[in-house]
C-alpha cells in the first residue's frame, strides 16, 4: 500500500498560547498528583537558549522526553512497559524567559539495553525545541557527565566531533531557585554559532 505523505511541519510562530503552560508542566516527576512522585534521584536542569551571536532567545518552546529511573518507558513500544514507574510522567514542557532561561525538574533516567539496536543506551534525555523562525523543530539529546556508558551510546557516538559531543553533556552546578532535594545541572543550548549544540536529523 502506498504510504501517505506526512503533513509538513510549520513554524510554531510567536503566538504559542501562554496558558498552555500549566504549573507542573516542567516537572517530569509527577503526572497529575504532586504527592505521588516518581522514584529516582531528583535533578534540576537549567540553562539559557541562544540564537546566532549569543543573543538570548526567548519564547522558545522546549519539550523533554526520557526513560524512568529504571530505564523503562510507559509506552506500548517498550517490552518492559508494565514495569515502568506509574508515577513518572517522562514528558515536560517549558518556554524560555526574556533572558533565554529555561529549567526542568526530573530524575536521572536509567540506562537500558535497546531492543532495536542491541546496544546499551546511556542515561539520556531527548529534547525538542520549537519557535518562531524554526520551520521544523530541532531535536537533540542530553547526556550526563562521568557516565562510562556514554562512549558506547549509539546516539552520543553518532556525533563525530568530540567538541560538539561535549556540548551534549549536562554540567553539575548549583542553581538559584533549585528544589533543595534536587542535584543541579546546567546546559546552554546554542542554536547557531561557533559553539553550536549538535542537532539530529529527524
Amino acid at each position: 500500500m502506498a504510504r501517505l505523505v506526512p503533513t509538513p511541519s510549520a513554524t510554531v510562530g510567536p503566538f504559542f498560547p501562554p496558558h498552555y503552560f500549566g504549573e507542573g508542566d516542567h516537572d517530569l516527576t509527577y503526572i497529575d498528583d504532586p504527592a505521588k512522585r516518581a522514584r529516582g534521584r531528583r535533578i534540576h536542569i537549567a540553562g539559557h537558549v541562544y540564537e546566532a551571536n549569543r543573543v538570548p532567545r526567548w519564547n522558545v518552546i522546549m519539550e523533554l522526553w526520557q526513560a524512568d529511573a529504571g530505564g523503562r518507558f510507559n509506552h506500548p513500544n517498550d517490552p518492559r512497559a508494565k514495569e515502568a514507574d506509574p508515577h513518572f510522567m517522562g514528558w515536560g514542557r517549558r518556554w524560555t524567559r526574556n533572558d533565554g532561561f529555561y529549567d526542568f525538574v526530573t530524575i536521572v533516567p536509567g540506562a537500558y539495553l535497546d531492543p532495536l539496536t542491541g546496544k546499551m543506551r546511556a542515561p539520556h534525555i531527548n529534547l525538542s525545541l520549537m519557535g518562531s523562525g524554526l520551520m521544523r523543530r530541532l531535536t537533540t539529546t542530553l547526556f550526563f557527565p562521568d557516565q562510562a556508558g556514554n562512549a558506547a551510546d549509539p546516539v552520543y557516538a553518532a556525533v563525530a566531533d568530540p567538541a560538539a559531543r561535549a556540548r551534549l553533556l549536562l554540567q553539575p552546578a548549583t542553581l538559584e531557585g533549585a528544589p533543595a532535594d534536587a542535584a543541579g545541572y546546567r546546559l546552554d543550548i546554542v542554536l547557531q554559532g561557533e559553539d553550536e549544540t549538535p542537532f539530529f536529523i529527524e
Binding site: L4, A10, I31, V55, A67, W91, S132, R136, V155
Partner: protein, 241 residues
C-alpha cells in the same frame, strides 16, 4: 485488537517538508543551526512518547467560538473543522492530544506578542483549544474563521492567510508535529512564505483543508471543513524469530 504503534520512521522526504531557511522570513536566518544535522539511529527513547498527556494537559476544549457552553459567541464566520489523525500507513492515531490556536476573526492573537496589533480583541474568543482523538483517530472542533493579518517589521512584508496552528503528539517522540492548516481557495495562500516553503505540491496540499459537502454537515449554522493530519511512523510486520 492489541494496539501496535509505529516502530519505523523513514527520514522525511525533504520535498514535502519546509526548507529550514525561508528568504524573507528573517528569523529563520539566526535560529537554525549552521552545521548539518546528524543522523542517529532510532532507539526506544525515540519511538516512544508520553501516553499520559491527557492527565497532565486538560482536554475537552473543542469549542473555540465561545468561552462557555452558554456564553455569547465570538464574532466571525462560525466554522466546524473535522478530520482524522493518521500515521503514514493510514492507520488512526487513537486517544492522542491535539492542540490548536489561531487569530480571531479580525486577525489578532490573544497573546502579549500581538499587543501592537491595531485589530480588536474579542473577549468571547478563547483563542485556543485542546482535545483528544477518538478510537478511530477522529477529531472535531468548532471555532470562528481566523482573519488574515500583515506580518510587520520584515524586510519583506507579507500577509498571512487565515490559518489554524495545530500541535499533535502522535504516538511518540518521532511523530511530534506542529503544523498549520490553511483554507481552500484563499488567494493569500499563493503568496504565503510559510505554506510555500514546502517545495512539493503534495506536501502543500496536506496543509490545506477541504470544503465539506453541505449534505455532510451535521449542523446547518456553520461552514464545514475536513482536514486529516498525517504524522510520521510506519508499522512493520513482525519478523518470526
Amino acid at each position: 485488537m492489541p494496539h501496535h504503534p509505529p516502530t519505523h520512521f523513514s527520514p522525511y522526504d525533504e520535498a514535502t517538508q519546509p526548507t529550514p531557511l525561508v528568504p524573507g522570513y528573517k528569523e529563520t536566518l539566526t535560529r537554525n543551526p549552521g552545521r548539518p544535522l546528524i543522523a542517529r539511529p532510532a532507539t526506544l527513547s525515540e519511538i516512544t512518547g508520553p501516553t499520559l498527556l491527557a492527565r497532565k494537559l486538560p482536554t475537552g476544549m473543542h469549542d473555540l467560538s465561545r468561552r462557555g457552553p452558554d456564553g455569547p459567541r465570538a464574532l466571525g464566520q462560525l466554522i466546524l473543522v473535522r478530520g482524522r489523525l493518521l500515521d503514514e500507513d493510514g492507520l488512526p492515531v487513537r486517544r492522542s492530544v491535539i492542540e490548536l490556536w489561531h487569530a480571531n476573526a479580525s486577525g489578532r492573537y490573544m497573546h502579549p506578542m500581538d499587543a501592537g496589533s491595531p485589530a480588536p480583541l474579542d473577549d468571547n474568543f478563547p483563542g485556543s483549544g485542546r482535545m483528544l482523538t477518538d478510537d478511530e483517530g477522529r477529531y472535531e472542533f468548532i471555532t470562528v474563521k481566523p482573519g488574515a493579518y500583515p506580518v510587520p517589521n520584515h524586510p519583506q512584508r507579507w500577509w498571512r492567510p487565515p490559518h489554524i496552528h495545530l500541535s499533535v503528539f502522535g504516538e511518540g517522540f518521532m511523530s511530534r508535529l506542529v503544523t498549520q492548516m490553511f483554507f481552500p481557495g484563499d488567494p493569500l495562500n499563493e503568496i504565503d512564505l510559510i505554506l510555500n516553503a514546502v517545495p512539493d505540491a503534495r506536501g502543500r496540499a496536506r496543509m490545506v483543508a477541504r470544503q465539506m459537502a453541505m449534505m455532510d454537515m451535521p449542523n446547518t449554522h456553520m461552514v464545514g471543513f475536513e482536514h486529516d493530519i498525517v504524522v510520521r511512523g510506519e508499522r512493520q510486520t513482525p519478523v518470526e524469530k
